[in-house]
């Protein structure tokens, strides 16, 4: 009953506020689902009186571990959304000339799929793991700027909301995840769709830049005594290089997005065709960001695998120094290859050859890493956990993805394969085989640390096999389709090109991966209720400091900050019977100062959302309202000197005692 009322009111609002042509009839079904889900969430929260809990424990939190959980939930939700998009695309291509969704919707769906997977799935998933473990690994009580960390999260979350709302209100962006000018200019793409893209990425991008700064400073300035750079776990190293890449890569993106938006909304002439605009500049700026971005999403996976492989082989990581040098080399090289994304735009042979060679060079440090992981496993006592399975699957998958990438570095080959299905297969090969497998591996590995219980191994393995086998069934045919000339962003194709069979197989594979996701979610829900709590804090016999702490970790992380004397510190402690708990005497515990929860990050994010929404629809009053909220909350934080709360030694002693971590 209430559902009907809300829905009718909603339809009425939509029709009065937004022009008819913006909406697609097929979107109505999705609307019903989203509104239904919204009503269920609201009524559950009200029924169990959880609003206050939600606000004070989660929406205002500045604790990096909780922010990590928020990021993880958002990333999984976005993986669902992006995955559904992928299945819609594959369904449309399953057979020749069937069109469950039409051409325009196909454009919208691959655009949101790509945008969401890169910016709103991979990025927050990475930040989830950064937040969950990096401070623990370096023996810090928190990140350098806890409040800023929360602001980053809310900017990301509201940016994601802005993009997703386009689907509900109609008029999703439809110019691809790269949004090349001049196609995205008003003359060619009128309507609000692209505004959503630019605004949401601008908002989320500010948050991402702040996260990069935050973790860079955390790692440089907040390491425990004795935690020298060359003692840092490799995941911390990749966090460091990723953060540096973020700081250097996001500004060009911000400029590219802002200039196009200025063109669209305020009629400047940057990337238009008349008035001396120059669309190529957009493409350069975009890929100046875009290539480092692919390393931003894959380097954390390298770090995760380095932790996972050492733990589950029961050995120290092989060639630590070489690993560190290679991530630093990748970080530096990442800026010198961007032109390989548009060899075909005709920059001339010398430019193309330079960037072709630099692209081949960057494969070398990556090769070094693959060998080091294999040598780490060599002679080790390998435990086939889910995390380890993803790692082992990653090595051949990523090697093949990397090899097909190097093929593109050969400029004449690129001219043949550019913008075809070979390319689609290549980048999914590295994005799924590298990034997604890495993130899922990390999720299974650190899940017990974040939540205090492990995920079910049997279900996890089942999901893994579905993902892994489904992956190859989906993308092997696509490599072949590339050779047969099928181009990307193609919404349908006629019978008789010989593409038929391969597309059927590919779609079957996609649904296998979809089944893998369903099993993964079932695994999470099942484990939430059924898995035993982990009392040791060290379920995997880990090597690095985060496993020295109880799970879930208390708010202050370390009752006493440890002194680090070796790489793989926790392993060393265990060998010398000197766990943190053994060392801790009641008198060692001092009073602590912790950051206090704050409503500012959430409200600031909301301000940005309102501002962005106003900009998208050119409702200037709304935009000003959003701007006023933003400025207001900035001023408020400026005058807020009450950022900390004291936690007494007594309280900490009590907590440590109840966790069984106190002597005497």
């Amino acid at each position: 009953m209430s559902f009907m009322a809300v829905y009718l009111f909603y339809l009425y609002m939509i029709h009065t506020l937004f022009p008819e042509n913006v909406r697609q009839p097929t979107e109505l079904g999705a609307d019903v689902m989203i509104i239904g889900a919204g009503i269920i969430i609201v009524s559950v929260l009200t029924r169990y009186k959880k609003w206050r809990w939600l606000w004070s424990e989660w929406l205002t939190t500045v604790d990096h571990k909780k922010i990590g959980v928020l990021y993880l939930i958002s990333a999984l939700a976005m993986l669902f959304r992006g995955g559904v998009d992928a299945l819609m695309l594959r369904t449309n291509l399953a057979l020749p000339n069937i069109q469950p969704i039409g051409a325009n919707e196909y454009n919208e769906v691959f655009t949101t799929h790509g945008t969401i997977m890169i910016f709103f799935m991979a990025m927050p998933f990475i930040f989830a793991l950064f937040n969950a473990v990096v401070p623990l690994m370096i023996g810090a009580r928190d990140v350098a700027f806890p409040r800023l960390n929360a602001i980053s999260y809310w900017l990301f979350a509201f940016g994601a909301l802005l993009l997703n709302i386009s689907f509900v209100l109609g008029g999703s962006p439809n110019a691809g995840w790269t949004a090349y000018a001049p196609f995205t200019e008003r003359a060619f793409t009128p309507g609000v769709g692209e505004n959503y893209y630019f605004m949401s990425l601008l908002i989320a991008g500010i948050g991402t830049t702040m996260t990069g700064i935050n973790f860079l400073v955390t790692i440089i300035r907040m390491r425990a005594p004795g935690m020298t750079f060359m003692r840092m776990p490799l995941f911390v190293w990749t966090t460091l290089t990723t953060s540096a890449l973020i700081i250097f890569a996001f500004p060009p993106l911000t400029v590219a997005l802002a200039l196009t938006l200025i063109d669209r909304l305020f009629h400047a002439s940057f990337f238009t065709l008349g008035h001396g605009g120059m669309p190529m500049m957009y493409v350069n700026l975009f890929w100046l960001f875009g290539h480092p971005e692919v390393y931003i999403v894959v380097m954390p996976a390298f770090g995760i695998f380095s932790e996972v492989v050492a733990t589950f082989s029961g050995k120290q990581l092989f060639g630590y120094t070489a690993m560190v040098l290679s991530v630093v080399a990748i970080m530096l090289f990442a800026y010198g290859t961007w032109v390989h994304h548009f060899f075909t735009m005709g920059a001339g042979p010398s430019v193309n050859v330079f960037f072709g060679l630099s692209t081949m060079l960057i494969a070398i440090p990556t090769g070094v890493k693959i060998f080091n992981w294999i040598f780490t496993m060599w002679g080790g006592r390998i435990r086939m956990t889910v995390a380890m399975l993803y790692q082992i699957a990653f090595i051949p998958t990523f090697a093949i993805g990397g090899a097909t990438g190097v093929m593109f570095a050969v400029v004449p080959v690129d001219y043949q394969l550019h913008n075809g299905y070979f390319l689609i297969a290549h980048f999914h090969n590295v994005l799924i085989g590298g990034t997604l497998f890495g993130l899922l591996s990390g999720m299974h590995y650190w899940w017990p640390k974040m939540f205090g219980f492990s995920l079910n191994e049997r279900l996890g393995k089942f999901a893994f096999w579905l993902f892994f086998i489904g992956f190859w069934i989906t993308f092997t045919p696509q490599y072949m389709l590339g050779f047969e000339g099928m181009t990307r962003r193609l919404y349908t194709y006629p019978l008789g090109y010989g593409w038929h069979m391969l597309n059927v197989i590919s779609t079957l594979g996609a649904f296998t991966m979809g089944a893998g996701f369903v099993v993964l979610v079932y695994d999470i829900v099942w484990s939430l209720f059924k898995m035993p709590r982990d009392a040791t804090g060290d379920p995997w016999n880990g090597r690095t400091l985060e496993w020295a702490l109880p799970s879930p970790v208390p708010e202050y992380n370390f009752a006493r900050v440890p002194v680090v004397t070796s790489r793989d510190m926790f392993w060393w402690m265990k060998r010398h019977h000197a766990t943190i708990a053994d060392q801790l005497k009641p008198n060692d515990i001092r009073e602590l100062e912790l950051p206090k929860n704050s409503p500012v990050p959430f409200i600031l994010g909301l301000g940005f959302f309102i501002f962005g929404f106003g900009m998208v629809f050119e409702w200037w009053l709304l935009a000003f309202l959003g701007l006023a909220i933003i400025i207001g909350s900035l001023i408020y934080t400026g005058f807020d000197y009450d950022e900390h709360k004291q936690v007494s030694a007594e309280e900490i002693r009590h907590i440590e005692q109840s966790l069984g971590r106190l002597q005497g």
């Binding site: 060009p252 200039l259 200025i262 009629h267």
Partner: protein, 207 residues
């Protein structure tokens, strides 16, 4: 930690006040990183301008629209304000709160003069139909210089809130850190202006 500290009680700190507390000194590191990212924003805008400089189309040339009188005035105002904010920090290090505030106010006045001149220049341009719609060159010009101007305006608003905080709380590790980061920001904008003056205005004269 954030309680007001009477500057006279502190016995000659071995490091400046704003670095004396670790949390505050970490914030200064973070601010440097922010400046790096902001510098890259400007670097991108400069590269855009460099590419668009010659794309004049039917619009005016740099020579026709740049008013060197007002540009020189702007340069003088901003460079002087960089000096005065330096003096404010100098006074802060000597714990002369009153003198420091005076220098800061002077900095703001100079900054406001800069912004006013620039706004006046832009408004005159627009009244003559010289808008960013006209040519690629003008788009690059207005957005690069305008972004700098917006930064200066933001800095002024920031410093006004700082004045209130300083007068309420005096010099503490927190307030002195805030003033210090403001001065970094202000010097940074000054350096960016030097580049704008050279590569936008002076080079415009040459070509």
């Amino acid at each position: 930690m954030s309680l007001p500290v009477d500057p006279k009680v502190i016995p000659k700190p071995p490091v400046p006040l704003e670095f004396s507390v670790k949390a505050e000194s970490i914030k200064i590191t973070g601010f440097w990183m922010f400046l790096v990212s902001d510098m890259l924003i400007f670097a991108s805008l400069f590269s855009v301008f460099a590419v668009f400089r010659s794309r004049i189309m039917a619009g005016p040339t740099p020579n026709q629209i740049f008013h060197y009188g007002s540009t020189l005035l702007e340069t003088l105002l901003l460079l002087t304000s960089s000096f005065t904010v330096g003096m404010a920090i100098f006074a802060m290090r000597k714990s002369h709160a009153k003198v420091m505030m005076a220098w800061l106010v002077l900095t703001l006045v100079l900054g406001a003069g800069f912004v006013a001149t620039e706004i006046h220049e832009f408004v005159t341009d627009v009244q003559h139909g010289i808008t960013w719609h006209v040519s690629g060159f003008l788009s690059g010009f207005f957005v690069l210089v305008g972004t700098h101007g917006a930064h200066v305006s933001f800095g002024i608003a920031w410093a006004v809130t700082l004045l209130f905080q300083l007068s309420r709380r005096g010099l503490t590790p927190v307030t002195s850190r805030k003033l210090y980061t403001f001065s970094l920001y202000w010097h940074f904008l000054d350096i960016v202006w030097v580049f704008i003056f050279t590569f936008v205005y002076l080079f415009g004269k040459i070509t």
